[in-house]
Protein backbone atom coordinates (compact mmCIF):
# COMPACT_ATOMS: atom_id res chain seq x y z
CA UNK A 1 0.00 0.00 0.00
CA UNK A 2 1.59 3.28 -1.08
CA UNK A 3 2.21 6.19 1.22
CA UNK A 4 -0.28 9.06 0.94
CA UNK A 5 1.46 12.42 1.02
CA UNK A 6 0.21 16.00 1.08
CA UNK A 7 2.74 18.62 -0.03
CA UNK A 8 2.05 22.20 1.06
CA UNK A 9 4.26 24.94 -0.38
CA UNK A 10 3.62 28.31 -2.03
CA UNK A 11 6.32 27.63 -4.66
CA UNK A 12 4.40 25.88 -7.44
CA UNK A 13 7.54 24.90 -9.37
CA UNK A 14 8.81 23.17 -6.23
CA UNK A 15 5.48 21.40 -5.65
CA UNK A 16 5.38 20.16 -9.21
CA UNK A 17 8.88 18.60 -9.30
CA UNK A 18 8.70 17.22 -5.72
CA UNK A 19 5.38 15.51 -6.39
CA UNK A 20 6.71 14.04 -9.64
CA UNK A 21 9.77 12.59 -7.88
CA UNK A 22 7.67 11.20 -5.05
CA UNK A 23 5.18 9.62 -7.45
CA UNK A 24 8.12 7.98 -9.23
CA UNK A 25 8.82 6.38 -5.82
CA UNK A 26 5.27 4.95 -5.78
CA UNK A 27 3.83 7.49 -3.35
CA UNK A 28 0.38 8.99 -3.81
CA UNK A 29 0.84 12.74 -3.74
CA UNK A 30 -1.62 15.61 -3.34
CA UNK A 31 -0.46 19.23 -3.40
CA UNK A 32 -1.63 22.52 -1.93
CA UNK A 33 -0.21 25.95 -2.77
CA UNK A 34 -1.21 27.51 0.54
CA UNK A 35 -1.72 26.53 4.16
CA UNK A 36 -5.44 27.34 3.79
CA UNK A 37 -5.75 24.96 0.82
CA UNK A 38 -3.75 22.33 2.70
CA UNK A 39 -6.02 22.52 5.74
CA UNK A 40 -9.07 22.06 3.50
CA UNK A 41 -7.47 18.97 1.92
CA UNK A 42 -6.70 17.44 5.32
CA UNK A 43 -10.40 17.93 6.24
CA UNK A 44 -11.51 15.93 3.24
CA UNK A 45 -8.69 13.42 2.76
CA UNK A 46 -6.51 10.93 4.64
CA UNK A 47 -2.76 11.31 4.55
CA UNK A 48 0.16 9.44 6.08
CA UNK A 49 2.46 12.44 6.07
CA UNK A 50 2.12 16.16 5.37
CA UNK A 51 5.21 17.97 4.10
CA UNK A 52 4.85 21.62 4.90
CA UNK A 53 6.90 24.71 4.03
CA UNK A 54 7.73 26.75 7.11
CA UNK A 55 7.59 30.18 5.49
CA UNK A 56 4.47 30.89 3.48
CA UNK A 57 2.39 34.02 2.83
CA UNK A 58 -0.90 34.48 4.72
CA UNK A 59 -0.30 31.63 7.18
CA UNK A 60 3.16 30.39 8.12
CA UNK A 61 4.12 26.76 8.63
CA UNK A 62 4.07 26.80 12.44
CA UNK A 63 0.55 28.20 12.54
CA UNK A 64 -0.51 25.68 9.90
CA UNK A 65 1.14 22.87 11.89
CA UNK A 66 -0.82 23.88 14.99
CA UNK A 67 -4.10 23.86 13.05
CA UNK A 68 -3.28 20.54 11.33
CA UNK A 69 -2.58 18.89 14.68
CA UNK A 70 -5.83 20.32 16.09
CA UNK A 71 -7.72 18.68 13.22
CA UNK A 72 -5.82 15.41 13.49
CA UNK A 73 -3.34 14.88 16.35
CA UNK A 74 -2.16 11.61 14.75
CA UNK A 75 -1.15 13.30 11.51
CA UNK A 76 2.59 13.28 10.93
CA UNK A 77 4.06 16.54 9.66
CA UNK A 78 7.53 17.23 8.31
CA UNK A 79 8.46 20.91 8.00
CA UNK A 80 10.74 22.14 5.23
CA UNK A 81 12.55 25.43 5.67
CA UNK A 82 15.11 27.62 3.95
CA UNK A 83 16.70 28.43 7.26
CA UNK A 84 15.56 27.13 10.63
CA UNK A 85 16.31 29.10 13.74
CA UNK A 86 16.76 27.19 17.00
CA UNK A 87 13.58 28.86 18.25
CA UNK A 88 11.58 27.65 15.25
CA UNK A 89 12.98 24.12 15.61
CA UNK A 90 12.01 23.98 19.27
CA UNK A 91 8.56 25.42 18.55
CA UNK A 92 8.00 22.92 15.72
CA UNK A 93 8.88 19.96 17.93
CA UNK A 94 6.68 21.30 20.76
CA UNK A 95 3.80 21.49 18.31
CA UNK A 96 4.38 17.86 17.37
CA UNK A 97 6.26 18.02 14.07
CA UNK A 98 7.94 14.78 13.11
CA UNK A 99 10.98 16.63 11.80
CA UNK A 100 12.25 19.96 10.50
CA UNK A 101 14.45 19.68 7.41
CA UNK A 102 16.41 22.37 5.66
CA UNK A 103 15.89 23.01 1.96
CA UNK A 104 17.19 21.71 -0.36
CA UNK A 105 16.17 18.43 1.27
CA UNK A 106 17.68 15.08 0.38
CA UNK A 107 14.99 12.98 -1.33
CA UNK A 108 16.39 9.69 -0.03
CA UNK A 109 16.31 10.97 3.59
CA UNK A 110 12.78 12.29 3.12
CA UNK A 111 11.60 9.03 1.55
CA UNK A 112 13.12 7.04 4.40
CA UNK A 113 11.32 9.15 7.01
CA UNK A 114 8.02 8.78 5.15
CA UNK A 115 8.44 5.01 4.85
CA UNK A 116 9.28 4.77 8.58
CA UNK A 117 6.02 6.56 9.37
CA UNK A 118 4.03 4.20 7.15
CA UNK A 119 5.73 1.16 8.66
CA UNK A 120 5.00 2.35 12.22
CA UNK A 121 1.37 2.96 11.30
CA UNK A 122 1.07 -0.52 9.82
CA UNK A 123 2.63 -2.11 12.90
CA UNK A 124 0.18 -0.23 15.14
CA UNK A 125 -2.77 -1.18 12.91
CA UNK A 126 -1.65 -4.84 12.83
CA UNK A 127 -1.35 -4.93 16.64
CA UNK A 128 -4.83 -3.42 17.01
CA UNK A 129 -6.26 -6.05 14.66
CA UNK A 130 -4.46 -8.83 16.55
CA UNK A 131 -6.00 -7.60 19.79
CA UNK A 132 -9.44 -7.47 18.22
CA UNK A 133 -9.12 -11.01 16.87
CA UNK A 134 -7.91 -12.25 20.30
CA UNK A 135 -10.92 -10.64 21.95
CA UNK A 136 -13.32 -12.14 19.44
CA UNK A 137 -11.80 -15.60 19.86
CA UNK A 138 -11.78 -15.23 23.66
CA UNK A 139 -15.42 -14.24 23.64
CA UNK A 140 -16.16 -17.47 21.74
CA UNK A 141 -14.30 -19.54 24.29
CA UNK A 142 -11.14 -20.13 22.23
Amino acid sequence: MSEKILLIDDEEDFLSVMSERMEARDMEVATAASAKEGLAKVESGVYDVVILDLKMPEMDGLEALKKLKEKNPELEVILLTGQATVQQSVEAMKLGALDLLEKPANMDDLTEKIRDVKERKMIIATKKNEEKVKQILASKGW
Binding site: E11, F14, R21, K55, E58, G82, Q83, K103, A105, M107
Partner: protein, 216 residues
Protein backbone atom coordinates in the same frame (compact mmCIF):
# COMPACT_ATOMS: atom_id res chain seq x y z
CA UNK B 1 26.19 63.36 11.06
CA UNK B 2 26.21 61.43 14.35
CA UNK B 3 22.40 61.82 14.55
CA UNK B 4 22.05 60.08 11.21
CA UNK B 5 24.32 57.30 12.38
CA UNK B 6 22.14 56.83 15.48
CA UNK B 7 19.01 56.62 13.37
CA UNK B 8 20.80 54.17 11.12
CA UNK B 9 21.88 52.13 14.14
CA UNK B 10 18.91 50.26 15.62
CA UNK B 11 16.29 50.68 12.93
CA UNK B 12 18.89 50.38 10.19
CA UNK B 13 20.12 47.07 11.53
CA UNK B 14 16.56 45.81 11.80
CA UNK B 15 15.95 46.80 8.17
CA UNK B 16 19.22 45.19 7.10
CA UNK B 17 18.34 41.96 8.91
CA UNK B 18 14.81 41.71 7.48
CA UNK B 19 15.91 42.37 3.91
CA UNK B 20 18.89 40.02 3.90
CA UNK B 21 16.89 37.25 5.60
CA UNK B 22 14.19 37.61 2.96
CA UNK B 23 16.78 37.43 0.18
CA UNK B 24 18.38 34.35 1.76
CA UNK B 25 14.96 32.69 1.89
CA UNK B 26 14.35 33.41 -1.78
CA UNK B 27 17.75 32.00 -2.74
CA UNK B 28 17.06 28.84 -0.72
CA UNK B 29 13.78 28.38 -2.59
CA UNK B 30 15.58 28.68 -5.92
CA UNK B 31 18.21 26.15 -4.80
CA UNK B 32 15.51 23.75 -3.65
CA UNK B 33 13.83 23.80 -7.06
CA UNK B 34 17.18 23.36 -8.87
CA UNK B 35 18.06 20.52 -6.48
CA UNK B 36 14.81 18.67 -7.16
CA UNK B 37 15.12 19.12 -10.92
CA UNK B 38 18.68 17.83 -10.75
CA UNK B 39 17.34 14.86 -8.80
CA UNK B 40 14.75 14.30 -11.52
CA UNK B 41 17.57 13.92 -14.06
CA UNK B 42 19.25 11.41 -11.75
CA UNK B 43 15.96 9.52 -11.51
CA UNK B 44 15.75 9.42 -15.32
CA UNK B 45 19.34 8.14 -15.60
CA UNK B 46 18.65 5.47 -13.01
CA UNK B 47 15.47 4.43 -14.86
CA UNK B 48 17.44 4.31 -18.14
CA UNK B 49 20.01 2.00 -16.53
CA UNK B 50 17.10 -0.34 -15.79
CA UNK B 51 15.98 -0.31 -19.41
CA UNK B 52 13.38 2.45 -19.34
CA UNK B 53 13.78 5.00 -22.14
CA UNK B 54 14.75 8.55 -21.31
CA UNK B 55 11.96 11.07 -21.97
CA UNK B 56 13.54 13.92 -24.00
CA UNK B 57 10.46 16.12 -23.57
CA UNK B 58 10.67 15.75 -19.81
CA UNK B 59 14.36 16.62 -19.85
CA UNK B 60 13.59 19.62 -22.01
CA UNK B 61 11.16 20.88 -19.38
CA UNK B 62 13.81 20.38 -16.70
CA UNK B 63 16.22 22.54 -18.71
CA UNK B 64 13.57 25.24 -19.01
CA UNK B 65 13.07 25.09 -15.25
CA UNK B 66 16.84 25.46 -14.70
CA UNK B 67 16.83 28.53 -16.92
CA UNK B 68 13.82 29.99 -15.13
CA UNK B 69 15.44 29.58 -11.72
CA UNK B 70 18.78 30.92 -12.95
CA UNK B 71 17.02 34.05 -14.23
CA UNK B 72 15.21 34.35 -10.94
CA UNK B 73 18.42 33.97 -8.91
CA UNK B 74 20.10 36.52 -11.18
CA UNK B 75 17.42 39.08 -10.39
CA UNK B 76 17.60 38.31 -6.67
CA UNK B 77 21.38 38.81 -6.74
CA UNK B 78 21.05 42.08 -8.68
CA UNK B 79 18.67 43.36 -6.01
CA UNK B 80 21.04 42.23 -3.26
CA UNK B 81 23.92 43.97 -4.97
CA UNK B 82 21.98 47.23 -5.39
CA UNK B 83 20.94 47.04 -1.74
CA UNK B 84 24.52 46.36 -0.63
CA UNK B 85 25.88 49.25 -2.67
CA UNK B 86 23.41 51.69 -1.16
CA UNK B 87 25.94 52.21 1.65
CA UNK B 88 28.78 53.15 -0.73
CA UNK B 89 28.04 56.83 -0.22
CA UNK B 90 26.88 58.58 2.90
CA UNK B 91 25.22 61.27 0.85
CA UNK B 92 24.36 61.33 -2.82
CA UNK B 93 21.67 61.80 -5.45
CA UNK B 94 18.90 59.28 -5.02
CA UNK B 95 16.44 58.62 -7.82
CA UNK B 96 13.26 57.96 -5.87
CA UNK B 97 11.58 55.89 -8.60
CA UNK B 98 14.61 53.59 -8.89
CA UNK B 99 14.77 53.35 -5.11
CA UNK B 100 11.06 52.52 -4.94
CA UNK B 101 11.53 49.80 -7.56
CA UNK B 102 14.31 48.20 -5.52
CA UNK B 103 12.42 48.36 -2.22
CA UNK B 104 9.21 46.99 -3.73
CA UNK B 105 11.20 44.07 -5.20
CA UNK B 106 12.61 43.40 -1.75
CA UNK B 107 9.20 43.77 -0.08
CA UNK B 108 7.23 41.55 -2.48
CA UNK B 109 7.27 38.48 -0.25
CA UNK B 110 6.05 40.48 2.76
CA UNK B 111 3.34 42.02 0.57
CA UNK B 112 2.23 38.57 -0.56
CA UNK B 113 1.29 37.70 3.04
CA UNK B 114 -1.78 39.89 2.46
CA UNK B 115 -1.99 39.20 -1.30
CA UNK B 116 -1.15 42.84 -1.96
CA UNK B 117 -0.35 43.90 -5.50
CA UNK B 118 2.62 46.24 -5.22
CA UNK B 119 3.51 48.67 -8.05
CA UNK B 120 5.72 51.64 -8.73
CA UNK B 121 4.12 54.25 -10.96
CA UNK B 122 6.12 55.21 -14.04
CA UNK B 123 6.97 58.88 -14.25
CA UNK B 124 8.08 61.06 -17.12
CA UNK B 125 10.29 63.23 -14.91
CA UNK B 126 12.77 61.96 -12.33
CA UNK B 127 12.32 62.78 -8.67
CA UNK B 128 15.83 63.11 -7.25
CA UNK B 129 16.77 63.95 -3.69
CA UNK B 130 20.13 64.45 -2.09
CA UNK B 131 20.40 62.19 0.91
CA UNK B 132 21.68 59.02 2.51
CA UNK B 133 20.56 56.24 0.15
CA UNK B 134 20.39 53.55 2.85
CA UNK B 135 18.43 55.80 5.20
CA UNK B 136 15.95 56.71 2.48
CA UNK B 137 15.49 53.03 1.59
CA UNK B 138 14.90 52.29 5.26
CA UNK B 139 12.32 55.09 5.39
CA UNK B 140 10.42 53.74 2.40
CA UNK B 141 10.64 50.21 3.82
CA UNK B 142 9.03 51.17 7.16
CA UNK B 143 6.43 53.24 5.31
CA UNK B 144 5.56 50.26 3.14
CA UNK B 145 5.23 48.00 6.19
CA UNK B 146 2.90 50.55 7.78
CA UNK B 147 0.87 50.69 4.55
CA UNK B 148 0.72 46.87 4.39
CA UNK B 149 -0.69 46.77 7.91
CA UNK B 150 -3.26 49.43 7.01
CA UNK B 151 -4.37 47.89 3.72
CA UNK B 152 -7.08 45.33 3.22
CA UNK B 153 -6.11 41.88 1.93
CA UNK B 154 -5.86 41.85 -1.85
CA UNK B 155 -5.40 45.63 -2.20
CA UNK B 156 -3.40 47.27 -4.95
CA UNK B 157 -0.72 49.53 -3.50
CA UNK B 158 1.07 51.97 -5.82
CA UNK B 159 4.08 54.14 -5.01
CA UNK B 160 4.41 57.48 -6.74
CA UNK B 161 7.72 59.35 -6.70
CA UNK B 162 7.16 62.99 -7.60
CA UNK B 163 9.31 66.07 -7.85
CA UNK B 164 8.12 69.19 -6.02
CA UNK B 165 10.50 71.39 -7.94
CA UNK B 166 12.86 73.42 -5.81
CA UNK B 167 11.13 72.47 -2.57
CA UNK B 168 12.12 68.81 -2.95
CA UNK B 169 10.34 65.59 -3.79
CA UNK B 170 7.64 63.36 -2.38
CA UNK B 171 6.67 59.75 -2.13
CA UNK B 172 3.01 58.91 -2.16
CA UNK B 173 1.56 55.51 -1.29
CA UNK B 174 -1.92 55.00 -2.70
CA UNK B 175 -4.08 51.98 -2.07
CA UNK B 176 -7.17 50.65 -3.79
CA UNK B 177 -9.30 50.14 -1.82
CA UNK B 178 -8.16 52.97 0.43
CA UNK B 179 -5.96 52.08 3.40
CA UNK B 180 -6.73 52.92 6.99
CA UNK B 181 -4.63 56.07 6.96
CA UNK B 182 -4.89 56.68 10.70
CA UNK B 183 -3.53 53.19 11.41
CA UNK B 184 -0.61 53.76 9.02
CA UNK B 185 0.12 57.18 10.52
CA UNK B 186 -0.01 55.73 14.04
CA UNK B 187 2.56 53.08 13.11
CA UNK B 188 4.85 55.65 11.47
CA UNK B 189 4.56 58.02 14.42
CA UNK B 190 7.05 55.70 16.12
CA UNK B 191 9.62 56.43 13.40
CA UNK B 192 10.06 60.13 14.16
CA UNK B 193 13.84 59.83 14.48
CA UNK B 194 14.17 58.07 11.15
CA UNK B 195 12.05 60.71 9.42
CA UNK B 196 14.10 63.52 10.99
CA UNK B 197 17.39 61.93 10.04
CA UNK B 198 16.20 61.56 6.45
CA UNK B 199 14.93 65.19 6.31
CA UNK B 200 11.48 63.81 5.65
CA UNK B 201 8.02 64.78 6.79
CA UNK B 202 5.00 62.53 7.08
CA UNK B 203 2.03 64.36 5.61
CA UNK B 204 -0.92 61.95 5.56
CA UNK B 205 -3.49 62.85 2.92
CA UNK B 206 -6.57 62.26 5.04
CA UNK B 207 -8.97 63.24 2.28
CA UNK B 208 -7.75 60.54 -0.12
CA UNK B 209 -6.33 58.19 2.54
CA UNK B 210 -2.90 58.28 0.92
CA UNK B 211 0.40 58.15 2.76
CA UNK B 212 2.59 61.06 1.72
CA UNK B 213 6.24 61.56 2.62
CA UNK B 214 7.76 64.90 1.71
CA UNK B 215 11.52 65.00 1.23
CA UNK B 216 13.65 68.10 1.13
Amino acid sequence: MSYQYEALGEEGLRFFGKVTASIAHEVKNVLAIINENSGLIEDQIFAASKGRPIDPERLGRVCQQFQKQINRADQITKNLSRFAHSVDQFKGDVDLTEMAQLITSLALRTASAKRLNLKVAETSTSAIVKGNPYLLQNLLWVSLLAAFAACENGSELTIFAQSRGETGSRLELRSTPAMDITQAAEILAGQKDLFSAANAKLVPDLHNSNLVIELE
